[in-house]
């Protein structure tokens, strides 16, 4: 009988620690599938981040260096420059990447570092217990916006995929979701394109994943998934905002 579904080879056979309904597990799997597809396991070096994603090294069967909070893309820069043939990626949450690590991510992209960044946007700080993130939506309740995010006081949600797409060093930038089979299929395609970008040494590559955080959204798994569909996607539109291959095709 033909096997149509299996655990990606670069994932270790242990259960994820993530909460039920959290999308991290799905995104981990997409990244792992792409590494398998391009047979990159033996040349991958991850710059791990701080947040719920910190335990990546418990799941990925590859070399990992831990980074201080927000600094993963700077660490990845050092790794990639020293090992240009390695496949180097970071996997960061929204607090890590879009708040404390804003300077690092912006300049890593702007230098066109040949690294790939997988960015999980669940509009909240997960690990620390549900505080406002830079991506928290207007009127969204968090433990530090107990009356909802008021832009007069707390500003507006950051749209990282669009922001980074505007930089010349960025070769590929996209936003995807994993809330439905259709979106998951697109996310799988985009993840591979981001990996391909690094293989092609075309520049910086970035994928933003809209993700559910049922625990800190105080929702059950189904309602949290529905919130991605009904609230997050209208605020953070899905799409490919920069694609060096498409740009080349137009030129040719």
């Amino acid at each position: 009988m033909k096997q149509v579904f299996k655990r990606p080879e670069c994932l270790i056979d242990v259960p994820f620690h993530f909460c039920p309904g959290c999308h991290h597990g799905l995104v981990h799997r997409l990244v792992a599938e792409a590494i398998d597809e391009y047979k990159l396991r033996e040349e991958t070096i991850i710059a791990a981040s701080v947040g719920c994603s910190v335990f990546m090294y418990d799941y990925f069967d590859v070399d990992v260096v831990e980074s201080p909070h927000g600094r993963a893309s700077a660490v990845a820069t050092g790794v990639k420059r020293a090992r240009p043939d390695a496949f180097v990626f970071t996997y960061q949450g929204d607090g890590d990447l879009a708040a404390i690590g804003t300077a690092e991510i912006l300049h890593t992209a702007n230098r066109g570092e040949k690294v790939t960044v997988f960015f999980v946007n669940n509009t909240i700080y997960g690990m620390t217990g549900g505080q406002m993130a830079p991506t928290t939506m207007i009127d969204q309740i968090s433990t530090t916006t107990p009356y909802g995010r008021d832009p007069e006081e707390a500003g507006y949600p950051l749209h990282m995929a669009e922001l980074l797409a505007a930089l010349p060093g960025t070769a590929y930038s996209a936003r995807v979701a994993v809330d439905s089979i259709k979106n998951l299929t697109q996310a799988r395609k985009v993840t591979k394109r981001a990996v391909q970008t690094q293989i092609d040494r075309a520049g910086f590559s970035f994928v933003e994943y809209l993700s559910a955080c049922p625990t800190n959204w105080k929702m059950n798994a189904e309602a949290a998934n529905r919130r991605v569909t009904e609230e997050l996607i209208p605020c953070f539109p899905l799409g490919v905002f920069k694609d060096y291959q498409a740009a080349q095709a137009v030129k040719e």
């Binding site: 201080p68 050092g78 300049h107």
Partner: protein
């Protein structure tokens, strides 16, 4: 590694950079700050054009984390800065120490606190020798007092970083960085071979490797800290100092870096006047040369510490001496550089009463 180079008149900052290149440093990450800008400029000239990697980072924070990343792969890498920038690097230094990632960091220190000024200072002694960032860790610290040592000790710093899998700090200051002296650019000779079985290269034909400082399981972090502690103790085998005239001294002066440099002239002058003055100059500030200070103080009961601050290293001298040893202190707050005459006067102030005590 390289052909015999001729002696030249060189700035301390350039000597640091030359030492780094000679020791095989291929990766430099930095951010501009006075008075150390010759270092990144030299590294840019020598590591661009495919000869290595030079990145002018967006911040000191990014620089130290690029160093962390390059160090994780086993590459010889360096960053440099001056005091306010070194403060920004402390988070990264703590992570490097915790994850046991080597790297060389140069602090051509200036005056603080805050923006302070660009004049020489030894105000960063505590920050350098007490870890500097969060957690119970230490950084190996080398303190040159000449342009030649800026070169020699930077080469040694790369060896010590790899030997101990730990960040190494070269602590100079504005005076050392900016002054020009004759430099003999001797070829780099490794002081040992260093274990590279931990470096990240991709998990090909071996189990994955992990460099981290997060330990959450019961007892795990305690054991990790004990392991680091044992390593810091082992560093004592690489302690370095310079001792002058200790045989028949009645007063021992202790100073490091630029202050020691000025003080050497004062000690010469004092000896010329018949004063029996010896000098101990710590070259490693961590590990601290406590043994030579303890042993000397069992014999010579009067010490005088001089620093370009209001009293930092003097604490280490007081911790090192035999109980009952008199330890005087003369400090100048950052912002001023004393002449040898000024320090000679300070020696004479404390010398005569002490000499009488020893004789009686």
């Amino acid at each position: 590694m390289s052909e015999k180079k001729r002696k030249a008149l060189v700035k301390g900052n350039d000597a640091v950079a030359m030492g780094a290149i000679e020791a095989g440093c291929k990766f430099y990450f930095g951010y501009p700050i006075t008075p150390q800008n010759e270092i990144p400029e030299y590294m840019a000239a020598h590591l661009s054009d495919g000869r290595g990697t030079f990145i002018q980072a967006e911040s000191e924070i990014a620089s130290i984390n690029m160093l962390l990343g390059a160090g994780a792969t086993g590459a010889r890498a360096m960053t440099s800065s001056s005091s306010p920038g070194i403060s920004l690097k402390q988070e990264g230094l703590s992570y490097m120490a915790g994850s046991e990632i080597p790297g060389v960091v140069v602090n051509m220190s200036r005056s603080g606190p805050g923006l302070g000024g660009i004049s020489p200072s030894q105000g960063d002694y505590f920050q350098a020798t007490r870890g500097g960032g969060h957690g119970d860790y230490r950084v190996f610290v080398l303190a040159p007092d000449s342009v030649q040592e800026c070169y020699d000790l930077t080469m040694l710093a790369f060896d010590m970083a790899e030997k101990y899998r730990n960040p190494v700090l070269v602590l100079g200051d504005a005076m050392l960085g900016q002054m020009k002296e004759s430099l003999d650019p001797t070829p780099y000779k490794p002081t040992g071979t260093f274990d590279k079985s931990w470096i990240l290269t991709g998990a090909k034909d071996r189990p994955p490797r992990l460099l981290k400082s997060l330990y959450l399981d019961d007892g795990e972090l305690t054991e990790h800290n004990w392991k680091l502690y044992r390593k810091y103790q082992k560093m004592r085998e690489d302690v370095r100092f310079e001792a002058i005239g200790l045989e028949d001294a009645e007063l021992v002066v202790v100073a490091f870096g630029s202050m020691a440099r000025v003080l050497k002239s004062s000690v010469d002058m004092a000896q010329g006047k018949g004063l029996k003055v010896g000098l101990i100059r710590p070259i490693t500030l961590y590990p601290y040369p406590e043994a030579i200070i303890r042993e000397t103080s069992q014999r010579i009961r009067h010490f005088q510490v001089m620093e370009l601050n209001t009293g930092q290293m003097v604490e280490d001298v007081r911790l090192s001496v035999d109980p009952g040893t008199k330890v005087d202190f003369f400090g100048l707050p950052p912002g001023m550089l004393p002449s040898p005459d000024v320090l000679l006067a300070e020696i004479e102030k404390v010398y005569h009463p002490a000499a009488q005590e020893v004789r009686s």
